[in-house]
Assembly symmetry: C2
Homo-oligomer: 141 residues x 2
């Protein structure tokens, strides 16, 4: 997977345009189907895998009933080593965290549990304040 094909470029562009949102493999297929330039399902999955490996996008497991979702990694607004993310399970909002307290947890984990946490892959799932106020039930897992 090194060639820059038309499909590769199109998929990256689409994900970029969805910066800050979670997109499933199905969404990608659907988008290109509707916009005329259809891309095979298998290609979409293969390119998404490639992009995850390249660090261009991240892969998350949130809703168990709609498959994995992907999100473009914004390298400009990043967020180097110690940036973590909170994802609202309800509205999908992504909160960027760069606070001290997580550093403490990270230190504790490595000190007491010998576990070196990986900020790139770790996402805190939960409910954001707005959704907490609005609705109440979180729905089954």
């Amino acid at each position: 997977m090194n060639y820059k094909t038309r499909q590769y470029g199109d998929i990256v562009s689409f994900l970029q345009s969805k910066k800050g949102c979670h997109v499933t493999a199905g969404d990608v297929c659907c988008h290109f189907e509707q916009s005329g330039k259809k891309i095979g399902k298998a290609t979409v999955y293969r390119q998404l895998d490639r992009l995850v490996e390249e660090g261009v996008i991240n892969k998350y497991l949130i809703d168990e009933n709609s498959g994995a979702c992907f999100e473009y990694v914004d390298r400009e607004n990043d967020c180097h080593e110690e940036c973590y993310h909170c994802k609202c399970e309800k509205c999908g909002k992504l909160i960027h965290l760069e606070c001290h307290e997580i550093g403490q947890l990270s230190d504790h984990l490595s000190g007491h549990h010998g576990f070196k946490i990986d900020p790139k892959r770790t996402v805190f799932y939960g409910i954001c304040s707005e959704c907490e106020e609005t609705g109440e039930k979180v729905g089954g897992i």
Copy 2:
């Protein structure tokens, strides 16, 4: 789902015997198939749903390629609400965390960021001590 059927009892016993381990629906089916008293797939899924609702087990989404996994809730040693998990990206080992420090983080998130973290969905990814010593490069997910 109120009756205490043979299948219900058998499934609970099995999950109890696997206390501290994560078990998939497939594992449950497989176990009963091998031990002679086969239980239908549909029944396994329905009973697991029931048990989650009853709070007898918890449901986690960890490994994207093997479906949801379940774990018996030990009410005596109470690892219920505040039990988090660390997953080694390299060897796949799962570490159960019930320590104080995570409670602090959880408090901080809700206090300062208005974010209510969900232990059931949140998994800390990283590298465990053994893998850290042995090799170095992190493979895929």
